[in-house]
């Protein structure tokens, strides 16, 4: 086996050039909480490890005209400590902070969580519900991609060879907006979602004017459930509308049976989490 090389470039341009030069043998290292485990298990043997944590753009949180830009390599711990982001997008922050232990939070990033492409990734449904846009850079320059278009299946993304997720943009939204993310695990922490549900709502005079709903761990990729959003928009979040949204969530599920949950259980829980997450997001929207 060729011994790997390690590089820690200072810019995205350099990182992209290094990845291009590695001819498919390059791997991006953000927090390393997946990559190092995979290397140790012999699942991957990169010829080049490109550490992106020295790139300012990928490790910064900034606010631009009401929108938030979060570098793809910002750690969960830094996001946890960012009062402004937490106030604007509590659901997104909570979702990222649910990943692993304090030790994992000290390293793990939303970019890594997305690119690892686990169907159960906690941050992804929250980012999809938020309408987050990923800025992606590769050999052919930059492009903006809705987060839901990046996962392509377990362990697979739609990124083209040599492309790197640089940052996420969480859009500006009107007053009266709130988001939430809930997941079900059999323990209280340190586990992988059986089902995850992200909800992002805007309320005006008691009526829901905009909604996005996303589910994790119930299909090969995180799902944007447009039927659920449709059921909520225009309603006063009455029981009938919420039940219709829950039904849309259940209908969207295409889960697997495994040791963490059966198809029947995951499908039922998707509706339950939708109801609870809507309640939290609506409460936050009202107080915003």
């Amino acid at each position: 086996m060729m011994e790997a090389q390690y590089r820690a470039p200072g810019s995205v341009d350099e990182a992209v050039a290094l990845m291009a030069g590695a001819g498919g043998k390059g791997r991006v290292l953000a927090g390393g909480t997946d990559l190092l485990v995979q290397m140790r298990a012999g699942m991957v043997a990169p010829g080049l490890i490109v550490d992106v944590k020295r790139i300012a753009e990928m490790t910064a949180i900034s606010q631009i005209a009401g929108a938030w830009r979060v570098g793809a390599a910002v750690t969960g711990a830094e996001i946890h400590d960012h009062a402004g982001l937490k106030k604007a997008w509590p659901g997104v922050v909570e979702a990222i902070n649910l990943i692993g232990s304090k030790q994992v939070q000290g390293r793990a990033s939303a970019g890594g969580n997305l690119c690892n492409a686990s169907p159960a990734a906690d941050s992804v449904p929250a980012l999809v519900a938020a309408g987050a846009i990923a800025t992606v850079q590769g050999p052919n320059g930059r492009r903006e991609v809705p987060v839901e278009q990046i996962p392509a299946g377990p362990g697979k993304t739609s990124l083209k060879p040599g492309e790197i997720v640089v940052s996420f943009t969480l859009p500006a939204r009107p007053a009266g907006s709130g988001d939430a993310y809930l997941r079900l695990i059999p323990r209280t922490e340190m586990d992988i979602a059986v089902v995850g549900c992200g909800v992002n709502l805007t309320m005006k005079d008691g009526t829901c004017t905009a909604a996005r709903v996303a589910l994790g761990a119930v299909a090969p990729t995180v799902l944007l459930v447009e039927g659920a959003a449709k059921a909520l928009v225009g309603s006063k979040l009455d029981d009938k509308a919420i039940e219709a949204a829950a039904a849309a969530c259940r209908a969207a599920c295409k889960p697997i049976d495994d040791k963490r949950g059966t198809i029947v259980y995951r499908t039922k829980i998707a509706g339950v989490l939708l109801k609870r997450a809507v309640a939290i997001a609506a409460e936050r929207a009202r107080s915003n």
């Binding site: 820690a8 290292l29 390393g32």
Partner: protein
């Protein structure tokens, strides 16, 4: 094979070493620098036995490459006491028998220090969540949690 040359600070000491690109920080500490207080448990970030603090953030040394320590500040269990004077957490773990076999203890102590450095007044729940990434198969955790809460209370007393 070309190795990576790293200049860093470990337990306050300027330190240099050579490491392979894929060599973990844990292997560098234990095998290159003879800092064997940091233990290897699972090697996959699940047990916390290899907890260290890098630039004031708690991390697992098994989930970090040695090469990444360039220019950082690393604290390991060897840097927790001041010479022969144990850190209050270390002293309290002994007094309250918050350890049995001892393999998880360096990681527990480092994680507890990271917790108290950020939150000097944690609730029991916060202590349990703060140490959720550290597995102990001996104590049942209760003595550890009580030791950490005790130290927090004493430190608040002395800084008052």
């Amino acid at each position: 094979m070309s190795k990576t040359h790293v200049t860093t600070t470990i337990n306050g000491e300027p330190t240099e070493y050579l490491c392979e690109a894929s060599q973990s920080m844990l292997d560098v500490l234990r095998d290159e620098l003879d800092l064997t207080g940091t233990k290897e448990g699972c090697g996959s970030g699940d047990c916390g036995a290899c907890s260290i603090i890098v630039d004031d953030r708690l991390v697992c040394a098994c989930l970090m490459l040695g090469a990444e320590a360039e220019g950082r500040r690393v604290l390991t269990i060897e840097g927790m006491s001041h010479g022969d004077k144990l850190h209050p957490l270390q002293q309290k773990f002994i007094e309250m028998a918050a350890l049995q076999c001892g393999v998880c203890t360096p990681g527990m102590l480092i994680a507890a220090k990271a917790l108290l450095d950020r939150n000097p007044n944690p609730s029991e729940t916060e202590v349990r969540f703060g140490l959720a990434g550290n597995l102990c198969r001996c104590t049942g955790y209760d003595k550890i949690v009580r030791a950490v809460l005790d130290v927090a209370a004493e430190q608040r007393e002395t800084t008052r």
